[in-house]
Symmetry: D2
Amino acid sequence: MKAHKILQAPIPMRWVGPIRISGNVLDEQLSVPLATYETPLWPSVGRGARVSMLCEGGIKTTLIDERMTRSILLEADDALAAHQAVQSIKARREELNAVVAQTSRFAQLIDMHSQIVGNLIYLRFEFTTGDASGHNMVTNAADKLIPWLLEEYPDLRYSSISANYCSDKKATAVNGILGRGKYVVCEILIPREVCERRLKTTPEKVVDLNIKKNLIGTLMAGGLRSANAHYANMLLAFYLATGQDAANIIEGSQGVVHAEVRGDDLYFSCTLPNLIVGSVGNGKGIEFVDANLTQLGCREPREPGANARRLAAICAATVLCGELSLLAAQTNPGELMEAHIQLER
Amino acid sequence: MKAHKILQAPIPMRWVGPIRISGNVLDEQLSVPLATYETPLWPSVGRGARVSMLCEGGIKTTLIDERMTRSILLEADDALAAHQAVQSIKARREELNAVVAQTSRFAQLIDMHSQIVGNLIYLRFEFTTGDASGHNMVTNAADKLIPWLLEEYPDLRYSSISANYCSDKKATAVNGILGRGKYVVCEILIPREVCERRLKTTPEKVVDLNIKKNLIGTLMAGGLRSANAHYANMLLAFYLATGQDAANIIEGSQGVVHAEVRGDDLYFSCTLPNLIVGSVGNGKGIEFVDANLTQLGCREPREPGANARRLAAICAATVLCGELSLLAAQTNPGELMEAHIQLER
Amino acid sequence: MKAHKILQAPIPMRWVGPIRISGNVLDEQLSVPLATYETPLWPSVGRGARVSMLCEGGIKTTLIDERMTRSILLEADDALAAHQAVQSIKARREELNAVVAQTSRFAQLIDMHSQIVGNLIYLRFEFTTGDASGHNMVTNAADKLIPWLLEEYPDLRYSSISANYCSDKKATAVNGILGRGKYVVCEILIPREVCERRLKTTPEKVVDLNIKKNLIGTLMAGGLRSANAHYANMLLAFYLATGQDAANIIEGSQGVVHAEVRGDDLYFSCTLPNLIVGSVGNGKGIEFVDANLTQLGCREPREPGANARRLAAICAATVLCGELSLLAAQTNPGELMEAHIQLER
Amino acid sequence: MKAHKILQAPIPMRWVGPIRISGNVLDEQLSVPLATYETPLWPSVGRGARVSMLCEGGIKTTLIDERMTRSILLEADDALAAHQAVQSIKARREELNAVVAQTSRFAQLIDMHSQIVGNLIYLRFEFTTGDASGHNMVTNAADKLIPWLLEEYPDLRYSSISANYCSDKKATAVNGILGRGKYVVCEILIPREVCERRLKTTPEKVVDLNIKKNLIGTLMAGGLRSANAHYANMLLAFYLATGQDAANIIEGSQGVVHAEVRGDDLYFSCTLPNLIVGSVGNGKGIEFVDANLTQLGCREPREPGANARRLAAICAATVLCGELSLLAAQTNPGELMEAHIQLER
């Protein structure tokens, strides 16, 4: 019966690049796979990639932080009991980590944060998770931590294994402020001449548009930590091509572009505080995904986490390529639509 | 060369259902295709679907509004000139609509909103776009409106064809407040007995969890109009299976669950103010997409827009199925992880 | 008994200025009263005022919009009934206005917006309210509209006279997007020489700081439409000195500074979308308030609303003075603290 | 000359109460001074106070956390240099604290958080500040930390002494998530009979209204951590009467009401994560302020910080009184306006 058979949704995919990437994670040039129905994305990212090849060091990517989170919801008798329990729990991180260690070789509890509302406890566990994005690993860890906590603190009661203070796949501020996924910054310094010849624009125009559109425009829209034009498009295409849980583009889309004229050049940076990617886990065993990850050099024998960090750096650089290209296009009236019309044919 | 060849990313897909749907758009029972790497989603939505079959009228879906938006950015000499220009432009909607009509048979300008910042004008055009989600249609319309505006208002200057006040694929408040995509509300009244037998929970537990997790939890996370557990997962899978621009799950994820105990039953509703879907346009011509849309009954000869509204209602009902199922699971300690472990095998 | 006697809290107050103001509301130079415990505010605003006297036209203030709002909460049987009721109610604005007219000579219903959540109706009434800020006027109007609505739509049920979709004195996006209070933009063009001599800074430094602090800094803080340094301080002091409901500084603080180097000069603008002020109503009859309003020229015989608009323009210009002065100070390491130390003595 | 003379703005003030308060800070009953132009606030808070006297333990207040913050903005050469500098700085808290100690006997650096955007460093210092609210203390500390940092890290450059990642007097998420001011939770358990007789409502009605208005209504308004009806009103009046910097009601207004029916009673809680108050500092030397603080028992010889914590607990309990009273009123159609009309006479 149809309803029980596993089928396939073959999304169009193309390799785009090469992109020149340097930084504290990798130093190479390589192409990236992008799966999308929005095929004008390919030449758009491709243009950014070509620019990267013309700039010294290409796109410098810096990995700042990494963690995966799960918040649980417990109830105490009142706020005071909640407060005392939280203080006690936070002081016992080593014991908690011993519980976590039973669930995974890779999961490690690195921090905890909490909020108390009335007698409710929102407790956010923050883990490193090796090469996995870590969704299941942290759920599994929480699943073991909860009974341990309920036994150690018999006055607490279970409310939920996920309390939305994680926050998974929802537009919130907590992920940017406390961290969730990889925090990556990409920077490129583009000579004016490259700007003019390849991007048909000037450093001044890109800087100006970024301020008025990405910073002020999003602000007026009531945006939440989202000063960019279309991070989401690149993230989606890269995530689909590499077997990621693409619903995490929601957090991923919350990042900020900062650009400046420096001397005669354009400094252009994309900060991505919430890039959730893994090189192992759900979906990674599918044949084409495995092939893509291998081709990207993210299936090498490395220390746990190194393949995932490499993937994050490549993903972030891809985002910069597409963001730069679209902003450049929007500085010129008419170019965007023309490009769409030409490319969709 | 690899970089130039179009390949495919075959995402696992399954038909789930049937779901019983009624309301002001359709009255049927039908299965839905879901493409995802997160395969536990299938049985989760499936459980919600089975519940829908046991409730009178199943899932009532009400379509409240539909529109697609594009904001442009213009500059005036100062705020006063900006204000006067905006007032004048808003008064000439019919003339603008004549310009829009040259670009599409389907696009129709139905409203305009604006923000003025210093001398900057953020002008948000709001269109109906027939059966298309409308991204390109509104870009095309804006592309023609801009030269017309610059000619009619020679003191205005072009700044950008997209000003982030649209807002496309970014976490903002404007889409929920002014509208973008289809605004759909889904409701279901679940007898206590069905709750207990099929969802292994009670109306009281679901209501309680919704308040503490979806409403208060998201609030504490600094969330923006996002009181739900995982709308994004169902949206992504449905969007991929039906050729949608899945980056729009970002807006789509911003919605609210409201649940109440009514008499002895559970009233459970999912409000989705920003559902961006189309039955024609980019991606819809791909063979499997076309087949899926046809199977869903969204390729019938109907008045413009009717197929897209049908698709939106089906999508929203699918979201409710998955949301209900996960919330029910989270009311029981341990169930979530067990389900994951069983299903992933 | 102490608990029943009305006492006084005498807040320190000083007149600061004169400020040179032009624009579509007034064209004058005048001093403003500021009541505050934070007395360094006086010289800070005073410095901005002196700058305004040295710039052509001083501070140009443009009033863009004015309205006061009240949202009510009604319940229907389901979302469809809610939708149909809202559509019908919106089509009967004239009838509603007749009901409103019974409650006040000045209140006039100019628009309505709504949100539907499940079967809940959030209905936002938007009024002009003459010279009053309008809090009570719109509550009174809502108080009469509700019974009328419940009689006309017997299937609707009362839930609340205020539904937080107004939104009064809370950090939300709706006020900026749909309007609440006066929407005022202030602009000034400051010659480089004035910048350097009076503000001890350069146009470039102020522009740079505004981008990095007000725009990006607030964004990273998860801010909501709040790209400014300290609008709130000036608003509080002005509101207290003129008998306003100063809790409305919460909405008032949500505004954006936009600055640019233009030629050799500094273009500096403060956009204040939610300035809630009145020249009549609660608190305005107190002797010193009345004297201050009179001194500001806001007690003259004018058409209804003109005195309040004048007050809003003056208030906004005052905000610009203080905002400019603090930003200038923060471009120089050490200046801020020195100023505080000197002034507090 | 008028512009140079210090005058007074005598705001109407009344003592309201007594309120019954218990918890981890104080256990007493006492009246509170409220200065406001909105005089209906007095009987509204008074009603809540009377309810507190009828409930066992009255209002239980729990102080969860306290800190005052200042963020500075530095620039590095690139993101990598920024990252390395931040890591190094965070590891040297003791050295930083030695610098801080030179500026105040009371300021103590207890934590640091950061954000990196391109090459920009937003560094948030978090201090305890004794009995002062701490605005000036942390500015002073930052003023000394900056030259120290610039000397220790010669590759960093000064950008601003305040980077809006603090955040002071602006609607943001960071304060709630990382902490700013006192974090206080107030709880009360109100017997049904008291609800009915004193508040003219039922536990069920209050719970229902809180969900639909404070939680869902604010959410639909695009609110930011602000699920309450009017915290701001009580905060403003209490702040003005006790010499606080009342512009901090902006952060203060960001809090959440959680209510439940428990057995036959109403559990009602107000969580206030960002209560910024001090018993010493700016404004506290003014005669009536000093008298009010003394009357509240906040000028006693106690360990540093104890008077300020006491003040915070009293303030929070006052907020609960007013919040409870207004919500109760809004459950009854017509009561709000009647109350206003009666009381304003």
